[in-house]
Amino acid sequence: MILEKYKIFKYKDLFWQLTLRDIRAKYKQSILGYSWVILVPLINLTVLSIVFTFVFKVPTGPVPYPVYLFTALVPWLFMSNAIVAATGSVLANASLVTKIYLPREILPLSAIASKLVDLFLTALILGFFMLVYGVPFHATILFVPFILLTQLMLITGVSFILSASNVFYRDIEHAIGVILGVWMYLTPVVYSPDLIPANLKIFFYLNPMSGIIDAYRATILYGVIPIWPAFLYSCLFSITIFIVGLIYFRKNSKYFAEVI
């Protein structure tokens, strides 16, 4: 245990440096630079808002649809970007993996951490929208860090599995975009779970992100604490996948340097 703590402490600086590198290097040589982090979600928001306000009507109660959508889009885009970055992280650092010893876990972890900055910035925009649309802030917003923690466990677990597998089967890097696209439409990001037929709801909530997105909306927009059966399932699922992912990653990371 003491050894474990010492190790984490020892690699803390490396973790920050790798995270900083990803943040700094991402938008070099681009005119708009870091504003892309906000531009991309805003463009997505605009397009989806137009489609789902005027073409398909989504029941959202007292909350205007753009805010309803953005509350889900912000954590979704964070997850999507983090998983894509983490999946490629081991291969992107091939020169390190084959030359120098470092705990390999640090590569997907720092890739995810670098996307937390983006999450923070887009969350500020969400707050701004809520002010503009006059959506009241509720005390239940205090639950949000807990929901984020659950989501981070899910992201990290999935990323451990995908980044390790991607070293051996690079098909994953190509498939990940499509998989995330399908996953998004299985999750109530653009629509409301009220639209799901009652007899299908049980399958719908097998997707751990359904409970997480619901929980974000409930606490941020409606002042309701998370819907427990669904969110509790998401928590358990996330913890399980985190542990499974970590074990899988550790077991396979021994062979990274041989395969790359």
């Binding site: 490396l14 440096q17 390190l96 030359k99 395969v259």
Partner: protein, 244 residues
């Protein structure tokens, strides 16, 4: 482990899977094959000890397995059989500037590469000026390293690597790359480390570097130790091996 021993390899073997399966299809097919014949033993039953402060040369032709030994000691690869114990901080002079990011400046890369080599931010802050001075790149330290010449790139990488203050220095054939002045600087720095009592392991396929540094050497061929002896005897044997 004895306090006097810096590195101990005990009966180490390393197996590679030749032509590793990179496609899911191949992996699935492979699953149904009765025997896998693609295994390749890069090292077989390697045992040796290196004392603290000793300089050891490992010599062998290309493909003999000497780089694999170095990677096992560095912890990049893990042994298939046997155990390796290492006592002290390892400073790899294996690849200079590993992990440099081309878009980042020299300054940013010093911090990045320094932490990769095991320094803390605090230690880098303290050594920053020394690193820059030694590299001679004061005027270019805020320029992205993608604009560096390959010589500048290496000077910066080397300068960071030697400021890690390792207990064990692993040296690959990096010296072959730089110009004469750079090589001289490298050798001087390595001498300085040796005098300070740093354990040094050099791998090479040329006898000169090893002769100038090590008293003891190991000859490896086809993944096995041929001889461990004084550097003269080992190099004699190596010359015979190449000629014969």
């Amino acid at each position: 482990m004895n306090d006097n021993i810096a590195i101990n390899l005990d009966n180490v073997s390393k197996r590679f899977k030749r032509g590793h399966k990179l496609l899911l299809k191949e992996a699935l097919l492979d699953f149904f094959r009765p025997t896998r014949q693609e295994d390749f033993w890069a090292l077989k039953n390697i045992s040796f000890k290196v004392k603290k402060g000793e300089a050891l040369g490992i010599i062998g032709t290309n493909g003999s397995g000497k780089s694999t030994v170095l990677k096992l000691i560095a912890g990049v690869l893990s042994p298939t059989k046997g155990t390796i114990s290492v006592n002290g901080r390892i400073g790899p002079l294996i690849e200079l500037g590993a992990g440099f990011h081309p878009e980042l400046t020299g300054r940013e890369n010093i911090y990045l590469n320094g932490t990769i080599l095991g320094l803390s931010i605090k230690e880098i802050n303290e050594k920053f000026n020394a690193i820059v001075n030694f590299s001679g790149l004061d005027d270019f330290i805020d320029t992205p390293v993608k604009h560096y010449s390959s010589g500048m790139y290496m000077r910066l990488g080397f300068s960071i690597a030697v400021h890690v203050e390792p207990d064990i220095l692993l040296v690959d054939e990096i010296l072959a790359v730089g110009d004469a002045g750079f090589q001289k600087k490298c050798l001087e720095k390595m001498k300085e480390f040796h005098d300070k009592g740093v354990t040094i392991i050099i791998i090479s396929h040329s006898a000169d570097l090893i002769k100038s540094f090590c008293k003891k050497a190991i000859l490896i061929n086809h993944g096995k130790i041929v001889v461990i002896d004084s550097v003269e005897k080992v190099i004699n044997k190596y010359s015979k091996l190449i000629d014969g």
